[in-house]
């Protein structure tokens, strides 16, 4: 009833923590058995270790939050030798989120990390507000995004999903270019670029000034974009943005997503993912669906 089959991913359920909101799983493993999860999108990995941005790195907003972590991660080697092996004890396929400043960085991480036993798919993070390429984020230029996708596809041992930025005029054309370049799937959306200013200091709260807006505040934007893109491409979409409960999951599936990631809500309630998974069968039943697959794209099919 909850199973979904996607390129590289045989999911026992469609729920997975979103990248950056779950580290490499160690901390949440103290809270529950990670084998319950459909998958895990691990934190963005770069070639070398990164410390990230100065603090403050987060700020609360109305119904959401801003973050400018800046891709802090221990670097490819540590992820390969410590983090991924740690996750092997759980019966859960990993989606490795990869990032970089240059095409070369992505390619190097993709080649290596895609050979790990439990990495079943890659998620190309071309939409992090802090990754620039010639002044333009990879994810806001269809040509740049497509070329990167093509190059990563060449070296990856596992299917490649590309994570789209919502900070664009026309997300459909970017999605199509990425599909044409050979991506196996899309994940969307990354955060919206936002800012908060502290009235006392008169400066932006985040040391980085701007940050990525996530949480339920952005769900309507995410649903709209999934709905648009799902009707324009033939590859599956993993939807995200503001999911808090099983009803939200169904909304993403109806909009055209085939699975759903949960980010910010993990901070509100560390048990949110297992809770959603538990609530899904009843919620499907309540709205008259036989299975997850039965919901997918239901708003336009």
């Amino acid at each position: 009833m909850l199973q979904v089959k996607l390129p590289g991913l045989d999911l026992k359920n469609p729920i997975m923590p979103a990248s950056g909101c779950f580290g490499f799983g160690r901390e949440f493993a103290e809270y529950y058995d990670l084998s319950l999860l459909g998958s895990i999108m691990i934190k963005a990995t770069t070639v070398s270790p990164r410390f990230g941005n100065p603090t403050p790195r987060v700020a609360e907003t109305y119904g959401g939050m801003l973050n400018a972590i800046g891709l802090q991660n221990p670097g490819l080697d540590v992820v390969l030798t410590q983090e991924l092996p740690f996750l092997e004890q759980f019966d859960v396929p990993i989606i490795a989120n990869i990032a970089g400043s240059e095409e070369e960085d992505y390619i190097r991480v993709a080649e290596k990390i895609s050979q790990s036993k439990n990495v079943h798919a890659l998620e190309l993070n071309i939409s992090c507000p802090n990754v620039k390429h010639g002044g333009i984020a990879f994810g806001t230029d269809a040509v740049v995004a497509a070329r990167l996708t093509e190059k990563v596809k060449k070296v990856s041992q596992v299917p490649v999903y590309v994570k789209l930025s919502p900070n664009v005029t026309d997300i459909v054309s970017i999605a199509k270019a990425i599909e044409a370049a050979g991506a196996d799937g899309l994940t969307m959306i990354n955060t919206l670029l936002g800012m908060r200013i502290d009235l006392r200091t008169r400066k932006p709260i985040l040391a980085n000034q701007t940050g990525g807006l996530s949480g339920p505040a952005i769900k309507p934007v995410a649903i709209r974009m999934v709905h648009e893109v799902a009707q324009a491409v033939h590859i599956p979409i993993i939807g995200m943005g503001g999911v808090q409960n099983a009803e939200d999951v169904l909304e993403f599936l109806l909009a055209g997503a085939s699975a759903v990631a949960v980010g910010t809500a993990n901070f509100v309630d560390p048990y949110v993912c297992p809770k959603i998974i538990e609530a899904l069968p009843e919620t499907l039943h309540k709205y008259g669906f036989a299975s997850i697959v039965d919901c997918i794209g239901g708003s336009f099919k």
Binding site: E27, T55, P56, I69, I205, F267, Y271
Partner: protein, 257 residues
Amino acid sequence: MKKVEDMHLVQKKWLTPQIVQMTLKGGLVLQMNRPGQFVHLRVPDGSTLLRRPISIHAIDQEELIFDVIFRIEGKGTKLLSKLTVGDTIHVMGPLGNGFPVSVPQVQSGNTACLIGGGIGTPPLYELSKQLKQKGMQVIHILGFGSEKECILEDAFTKLGQTLISTVDGSKGTHGFVTDILKDKDIQADIYYSCGPVPMFSALEALNLPAPVYVSYEERMACGMGACYACVCKNKNQEGYKRICKEGPVFQAGEVEI
């Protein structure tokens, strides 16, 4: 093991017009033992997603209760302060590593000096209790803006000598906690501190003769080490620490703030 709980607010007391003490009851208290750890409180309104980190002030495992003391800063603490006896609060914790109480300096007969600034004083109370139980002498040096903001004097006095400074001189020594440390030439085998960052810098400048442990604050999201929101760099060495996980207490000079 329990990690979160809907706990019951069983007592509520205003210490000043801006500072409230709340007693919460529930099984989660059985996990609480280290002074200086904190809890992550859900604010009772859907527009406010992130939890609020608040230090544990006092623990009573027999009664299954613990206390927090917090000051109204913004929206979250304002909403929390409006809860009334009988309401529940969703609590996550205890989180972080607290003040070290198993270091060599902590032993019967030794002296500990606890230095608190403003709303940083509450977590020192459980610490003082535990140090006293271990047979230590405890001296408390507490600094406030003015007499009106002064809290917990009686509670600390019951545990040991308690010296107070106020910035405006309306109570105790006129000046800062560091003025007391200098003027009274207080010597201890270990120092613990919680308060605003400028106070820590002033303490550091004193070059105290024994280890100093300091509790830091940073804006947090997860509170459990997963999101990297609250990271600070190690001083004089590679790597970093998460204030919510490896902290909030560090030895002075250990991290860059």
